[in-house]
């Protein structure tokens, strides 16, 4: 029972699908951020796995940068969230429809 690359990729895909469910299902902005983090992490796993199985460090580098970006995204995102919350007193996605076409 050797664990191969495909195992990791399938795992990554499942996590990604969970993330997608979260992204689509959640109506709360904060929860949406959670779901996004799941998506990012799902991808990170596949990067790390590919990096490992091909003996190439590029994947790990990518993971590194993805984490960095995720961190800054959270920082800015939360800031915006707070501003929004201060202004509208909620963080419900259904209330955010100023971009109606």
């Amino acid at each position: 029972m050797e664990i191969g690359l495909n195992h990791y990729l399938v795992l990554s895909t499942i996590l990604f699908a969970i993330g997608l469910v979260g992204v689509m299902r959640r109506k709360n902005l904060l929860m949406l951020f959670f779901a996004t983090e799941i998506l990012l992490n799902a991808v990170n796993i596949s990067f790390a796995a590919i990096s490992h199985y091909y003996g190439d460090l590029t994947g790990q580098m990518f993971v590194f940068f993805v984490i960095a970006i995720a961190a800054s995204e959270v920082a800015v995102g939360l800031g915006l969230l707070i501003v929004w919350h201060k202004k509208h007193n909620n963080i419900d996605l259904d209330n955010m429809s100023t971009m109606r076409g």
Partner: protein, 640 residues
């Protein structure tokens, strides 16, 4: 000698430009005098050239400069003075000089005096180009140039609706014919490789008959327009809206004869295709009687003379069509003199009668206008063809040509027309100058024209009388370039019977007309007499309903079709299709806009849906790439 050629050609242009300088300013005598002098110069130069050609037999051929040159095409501004063109130059310059001088008096009170002379001289210039050019393209320049000037001059009194309408009609009708001419020129170019007369005619001898026939037909279509042959004749009568000197110069003496000139110039071509020549002659004979019949009843002196012109053009085409080119040219010349004289006389009458044109409202004017009466009577005699006036020598010659060439139907038609001609000519002479003084009823105060106008007309009078005596000199001259066929009835008895018979017939017609229209019974027609209600009269007075037919079945449908093209096809179909295509995109956007609800959650769902779609595509293409071989086999199995 080139100097004289250029002087003859360009002095009218100088005169025209000079008058044009005063175009916008109020009437200045000098704007009329200078163009007249310039025309005198042109006449002098033409005379010198004539003498030169006459005495030495030399022709002058110059090439001024290149006009168009591209590919194998080479068209210069080339001019030739040979026996034919010098004849035309003489006619043109002489008549136009007379008309210019006359017009100084005639247009005396007109606001557009300066403009008039500018146009008139420009016309002469165009006409000179037309007759002097040594190639078809140059001919076409003059051809269109005279058309332009004719448009300007017919519509000279542009404030009159009828005048501007007639001008446009003339221009457009001429354009229809010009298209034929243009096509003829194209045919000549692609078949002979040149548009120079000498080169083209030389090459034509080697062409096959059908090509030549087409060339002949198309060129003649051009001639039909300019010379107002049936069915393009209606513009000529309407063109009488222009000032009378214009009618005299353009619509009697010069421009309308351009068609005849073209056929004469292209004699080498038409000699090769006698069947077309016969067609031309037949059409000419038809037009001669057709126009004469309309002249019988018309109640507008200028229109009567116009129909008479048309009829005489028919004569010329008979001669030209039957190969008697020199006869045609001779009649053209003689006709120019007496017809211009007739028109100018009519101008005097109009002047006296405050532009009244109905001869029934005149009568007895002879007492007040003796000079004019004499001139018009003599011109009418010449037109009728009484010995020894000019018309006898030229017109009877055409009858002889018809007889000698054994075209007896044409001969009979022309003979009969000669009688008609005499009748209608003297009908108006009688109505205007003799009989009761009916004008008094309408309160006119006629007066004779200025002396110098009459003096100006006198050269024409002299020529109308004596032109016939130049016949032999003329024959000797032009037969350098034209076929020198003599037309004599060999049997002396027949000859004398014919001549005297014709003369008697004509004289009888004159007397009949004179008697009928000088009687005391002549009344101003009021539409009640039995004659006026007869079908024949109505048919003739309405010009065989041809203008009506054109208006109803050509002009109106064209106008309506245009309207339909614009409102229905252009806007409703073509443009609507374009807008429809644009609308598809617009509506798609409108519809799919709903997707963009602005709700982040919904949009995320769409995003995922899009991802799924893209992923599916990737899978499908991946599979297709992997299994392309099998797919091909499968598809070929299906017969695709």
């Amino acid at each position: 000698m080139e100097l004289f050629l250029y002087t003859a050609l360009f002095s009218p242009l100088v005169g025209s430009l000079f008058a044009a300088l005063f175009g916008a300013s109020p009437k200045t005598k000098i704007a009329g005098v200078v163009p007249s002098i310039m025309l005198g110069v042109s006449l002098l130069s033409s005379t010198i050239l004539l003498v030169l050609v006459l005495t030495t037999g030399h022709t002058i051929h110059v090439e001024m400069m290149t006009w168009m040159a591209t590919g194998n095409l080479y068209i210069p501004f080339g001019f030739v003075v040979d026996q034919v063109s010098v004849t035309m130059m003489m006619v043109v310059t002489l008549v136009s000089t007379v008309v210019h001088v006359y017009a100084i008096g005639y247009m005396d009170h007109d606001k557009g005096f300066n403009r008039f002379f500018s146009y008139l001289s420009a016309f002469v210039f165009s006409m000179m180009i037309l007759v002097m050019s040594d190639n078809f393209a140059g001919l076409f320049i003059g051809w269109e140039g005279v058309g332009l000037c004719s448009w300007l001059l017919i519509g000279f009194w542009y404030h009159k609706e009828s005048a501007s309408w007639a001008a446009n009609e003339a221009f457009i009708m001429n354009r229809i014919a010009d298209l034929g001419m243009l096509i003829g020129i194209f045919l000549i170019y692609w078949n002979t490789g040149t548009l120079q007369y000498d080169g083209a005619f030389a090459a034509m001898a080697n062409l096959d008959a059908s090509t030549l026939t087409w060339i002949g037909i198309f060129l003649f279509v051009g001639a039909m327009g300019k010379s107002a042959q049936f069915p393009l004749h209606t513009w000529l009568a309407d063109a009488m809206e222009g000032p009378t000197p214009v009618s005299a110069l353009i619509h009697a003496a010069t421009m309308v004869t351009a068609g005849v000139y073209l056929v004469v110039r292209a004699n080498e071509l038409y000699a090769l295709i006698p069947h077309i020549g016969l067609f031309i002659a037949s059409l000419g004979a038809f037009v001669a009687i057709f126009a004469a019949s309309m002249a019988l009843v018309n109640r507008d002196i200028k229109r009567v003379i116009a129909y008479s012109t048309l009829s005489q053009l028919g004569y010329m085409f008979v001669a030209a069509g039957l190969g008697a080119y020199w006869v045609a040219l001779f009649h053209l010349m003689a006709h120019a003199f007496f017809k211009a004289l007739l028109f100018l006389g009519a101008g005097n009458v109009m002047h006296a009668m405050d532009s009244e044109l109905d001869p029934f409202k005149m009568g007895g004017l002879g007492k007040k206008m003796k000079g004019t009466m004499i001139m018009m009577t003599l011109a009418s005699v010449a037109l009728a063809g009484i010995y020894p006036f000019a018309g006898f020598f030229s017109k009877d010659l055409i009858l002889e040509v018809g007889f000698v060439e054994h075209h007896y139907i044409i001969y009979t038609v022309l003979l009969f027309t000669a009688g008609l001609t005499a009748f209608y000519s003297f009908r108006i002479v009688a109505l205007i100058f003799h009989g009761e003084e009916r004008y008094k009823l309408f309160g006119f105060h006629p007066h004779e024209a200025y002396k110098f106008m009459l003096v100006a007309m006198s050269p024409l009078l002299v020529l109308a009388i004596i032109a016939g005596s130049f016949k032999m000199t003329y024959f000797d001259m032009v037969t350098y370039v034209l076929p020198a066929t003599e037309y004599h009835v060999h049997n002396h008895l027949v000859y004398w019977i014919m001549t005297i018979g014709t003369q008697l017939f004509v004289i009888l017609s004159i007397f009949y007309a004179y008697k009928k229209y000088t009687s005391r019974d002549v009344k101003v027609p009021d539409g009640t007499s039995a004659m006026e209600n007869s079908f024949k009269y109505k048919l003739l007075i309405n010009q065989y309903y041809i203008p009506y037919f054109y208006e109803e079945y050509l002009v109106k449908p064209y106008r309506e079709l245009s309207e339909i093209f614009w409102t229905k096809i252009d806007q409703k179909i073509v443009d609507a299709t374009v807008d429809g295509i644009a609308n598809v995109f617009y509506q798609t956007g409108e519809k799919t806009r709903v997707m963009q609800s602005g709700n982040l959650s919904t949009m995320l769902k769409w995003m995922v849906a899009g991802t799924v779609a893209l992923l599916s595509l990737a899978v499908v293409f991946g599979l297709a790439a992997r299994h392309s071989g099998e797919i091909k086999i499968f598809l070929s199995g299906l017969g695709v």
